[in-house]
């Protein structure tokens, strides 16, 4: 028994003391689940082709990633935060307070947001106004706001098939939700003339009108999906009337199960998004902690490699997976090489 006790306690002590002087030789990345597949593709290729350790990539969402990014400077904080939206001023302030003052912003490309439904169901050709009329909580009718009466797509647009409205949209914790509200719902509100009607009702308060436009119905015809696109896909497989919001890359990997809807008669593809014809897209970013650049081995090389033509270029593996390559990639490469810090 005494031998057992001795080994147990000495092992416990060794475990704690040995790790007291812990140092890290790998790059640590966290953030957006939209950027995660791209970051892991780059991390994998980086580990294969360089003499550095393969970076560790976590997901968890843009906000959670940036929050951890802003915890401070040091080896037990992350080096890179992935984000499917631009960093907010409040987050920059929180970073500065914790000592993270020098941040390098890197835009890796664009991501398309598509609407897809079951492959055997009806085909749809949407406009943003259709989505506004289908999903808004309240619509302006004859000078008053009334609860959305539409329950069938044929009520929204006479050209649509007779199919009950059932939408699976990203939950509020997703960066995708923000893009969906601004580029589809708000746009549709303006296009359909509802915006002006609301302004007349509320007496010209623009902020309130925007909020009213972007309020999504909560009567069960629109379902928030807090999980990933795999959950949205499972919900559509269970309910064939469902129409879901997906990332372009996810759709391209599941074209045998999903059919995609056009927006303003444009089919979403890498080409139509990069040309700007397809309206619903957003830039993807990652943020580097400049203070870590000379401390964590491989961080500068990883960032350079991420934006290199071999990876993020139009013929690289990221584009193949569904990333819309950034036409200004050369400028991004230069900024990363020069460590161009934000706000300077």
């Amino acid at each position: 028994m005494s031998l057992f006790k001795l080994t147990a306690s000495s092992l416990a002590i060794a475990a704690v003391t040995a790790t007291a002087a812990a140092a890290r030789d790998n790059v640590q990345v966290a953030g957006s689940s939209t950027v995660l597949p791209y970051a892991s593709i780059v991390a994998e290729a980086f580990g294969e082709n360089f003499d550095f350790a393969t970076p560790v990539v976590e997901s968890g969402g843009s906000s959670a990633g940036l929050k951890r990014f802003c915890e401070g400077v040091g080896e037990n904080t992350i080096d890179i935060a992935n984000a499917s939206r631009k960093i907010k001023d409040s987050e920059i302030a929180a970073c500065a307070e914790a000592g993270v003052t020098d941040i390098v912003e890197v835009r890796i490309g664009y991501d398309g947001i598509v609407f897809a439904s079951d492959i055997n169901g009806n085909a749809f050709a949407f406009t943003p106004a259709d989505w506004y009329n289908a999903l808004a909580a309240e619509l302006p009718v004859d000078g008053a706001m009334v609860a959305n009466p539409n329950t069938n797509w044929s009520q929204v647009n006479a050209n649509f098939a007779d199919q009950p409205i059932m939408a699976f949209i990203p939950g509020t914790k997703h960066g995708t939700r923000e893009v969906f509200e601004e580029k589809v719902i708000l746009q549709g509100c303006e296009d359909s003339g509802a915006m002006e009607a609301i302004l007349q009702i509320n007496g010209g308060d623009e902020d309130a009108a925007e909020d009213a436009c972007m309020a999504i119905r909560t009567d069960g015809l629109s379902v928030d999906i807090d999980g990933d696109y795999t959950e949205t896909l499972a919900r559509i497989e269970a309910d064939n009337n469902g129409i879901g919001v997906f990332g372009l890359a996810f759709y391209e990997n599941n074209t045998d199960k999903l059919q995609v809807a056009t927006i303003n008669d444009v089919v979403p593809s890498v080409e139509s998004i990069s040309s700007g014809d397809y309206p619903v897209s957003r830039p993807l970013y990652f943020y580097i902690k400049a203070a870590h650049l000379d401390v964590i081995p491989g961080l500068q090389e990883f960032a350079d490699f991420f934006v290199s033509d071999d990876m993020a270029g139009p013929d690289g593996p990221l584009a193949e997976y569904g990333l819309v390559s950034d036409p200004e990639l050369a400028a991004t490469q230069e900024a990363v090489a020069n460590r161009a810090v934000m706000g300077q």
Binding site: A8, A18, T19, A23, N76, T230, E252, N253, P317
Partner: protein, 446 residues
């Protein structure tokens, strides 16, 4: 005695209305019991069938058996076989060599195909370039020769040989085509492609979303093993010491009552709470490495401790007091009586409780979310390095790998996730079997 007088004059074998009612009630109760078990079994069968149906194919994998020419002009322009120079040729530079080898095989087998060069290259996994590059860098002398390699086929081709992808689904799929599947079938008929047992699934590290065919559980199994070692080494001695003290030495007063209530409560605390605690104490305060099995093990130790303490105390209680009295009666000290007599008799119960606690910890995901173990990790974690310390290198764990794979876009990962569940279930089954064996083998009844 009034009952007997009432029943007088009737045979006991004759059932009256009341007895029939009671018998019927009993029969109903038995039927409910059988129905409950049937529902539970049905749920288990449905779960296991769906997991095995989806996951069994993860243990098989399609490979191309190719003779690959390794041209010096491309892989080592300097001709010096200097590793530093040869490393400059990345996996992107190796990909055309593989495509050429496959084209040569197609030509040799006399297969007609309408596919272009890019589509033919698409039959090969992106992992294959790394396989060949590593082989070349490990042995630079093979440059300039032709070597035979067994390289992975792309995920959808692999899915075709396992029945997951069909010609109909491929026609709708933008990542493959029926022609590609038919070419792969022709290659298999000519002996250039083969589906065999997938050892790499158990040993290879995770792979990115573009290579479901290369993803394996190696890092996850290693990380889980490290965590279990940490949990065992910490939770067992601490848990046993705490329960021996509480059960055998501690005075029974308000304080020990309070501790007892707290331990029972801790056993019911949601595991995510331990994750939050671990993040605050082990990572932010003690500055241990994120994503490391050490931190994961410490968090799971906290989670497992109450389970071990409760089961150890139950095992100690089950040792009859006469054993203690006898030991004390022949002059043993209190400590001697505990360590020489009570503890060995309680050992089977303690071990069973520990193994069940470990099995619970092995399947836990939630607390690991917060300490950075739900991640894409490709390097095998070393047990000890001077920089990262003991168990300090980033890793994942088995249940985390399941969670990760279910979120990936490529349908190939559905199969991998189910395969990982099968592996996890096998580990749990082994642990529970050991627990049952120990209990049967060493348990003593009085």
């Amino acid at each position: 005695m009034t009952d007997q007088t009432q029943n007088l004059g009737r045979s006991l074998l004759e059932t009256d209305a009341r007895t029939r009612k009671r018998n019927a009630a009993e029969a109903r109760f038995k039927a409910f019991g059988v129905a409950a078990i049937a529902v539970a079994l049905l749920a288990l069968v449905v779960l296991l069938t769906s997991v095995v149906y989806n996951g069994a194919s993860a243990f098989k994998q399609t490979y191309f058996e190719l003779d690959i020419e390794l041209p010096e002009a491309k892989l080592d322009k300097s001709g010096t076989r200097d590793l530093e120079v040869m490393k400059k040729v990345t996996t992107i530079g190796y990909a055309p060599i593989l495509t050429a080898a496959l084209e040569a095989a197609i030509e040799k087998a006399g297969i007609e195909t309408t596919l272009d060069k890019k589509a033919i290259g698409g039959l090969i996994s992106k992992e294959a370039a790394a396989t060949v590059r590593n082989a070349v860098l490990a042995n630079p002398e093979i440059v300039g020769t032709t070597q035979s390699f067994s390289i992975l086929a792309e995920g959808r081709i692999d899915g075709y040989f396992k029945g997951r992808v069909t010609l109909e689904s491929a026609a709708l799929d933008s990542n493959t085509s029926p022609e590609a599947l038919m070419l792969a079938q022709a290659l298999a008929d000519a002996g250039y492609a083969d589906t065999k047992f997938n050892w790499a699934f158990l040993t290879a590290p995770d792979a990115s979303d573009q290579r479901p065919e290369a993803a394996g559980l190696g890092v996850a199994i290693l990380g889980s093993a490290y965590m279990m070692i940490v949990v065992l080494v910490l939770a067992l001695p601490i848990g046993v010491a705490a329960s021996v003290y509480l059960e055998e030495f501690a005075p029974k007063n308000r304080w020990t009552d309070l501790i007892e209530v707290n331990i029972s409560n801790l056993a019911a605390v949601p595991s995510i709470v331990f994750g939050i605690l671990g993040l605050a104490i082990f990572i932010n305060f003690a500055q241990l490495n994120q994503s490391s099995p050490l931190v994961g093990g410490l968090v799971l130790t906290l989670m497992t401790l109450p389970t071990i303490i409760i089961s150890t105390r139950a095992a100690l209680k089950a040792v009859p007091p006469s054993i203690r009295d006898a030991a004390l009666g022949v002059g043993a000290s209190k400590m001697q009586s505990v360590f020489h007599h009570v503890l060995p008799l309680a050992a089977p119960g303690i071990l069973t409780g520990t193994i069940i606690g470990l099995a619970q910890a092995l399947g836990e995901t939630a607390p690991l979310l917060l300490i950075g173990m739900v991640a894409f990790v490709r390097d095998y974690p070393a047990a000890y390095t001077p920089e990262a310390g003991l168990f300090g290198e980033a890793s994942t764990a088995l249940p985390v790998q399941v969670f990760n794979w279910t979120q990936r876009a490529d349908p190939g990962f559905v199969e991998r996730a189910s395969g990982a569940i099968i592996t996890l279930l096998v580990f749990l089954l082994i642990m529970n079997a050991i627990a049952i064996y120990l209990r049967r083998r060493f348990e003593r009844r009085w």
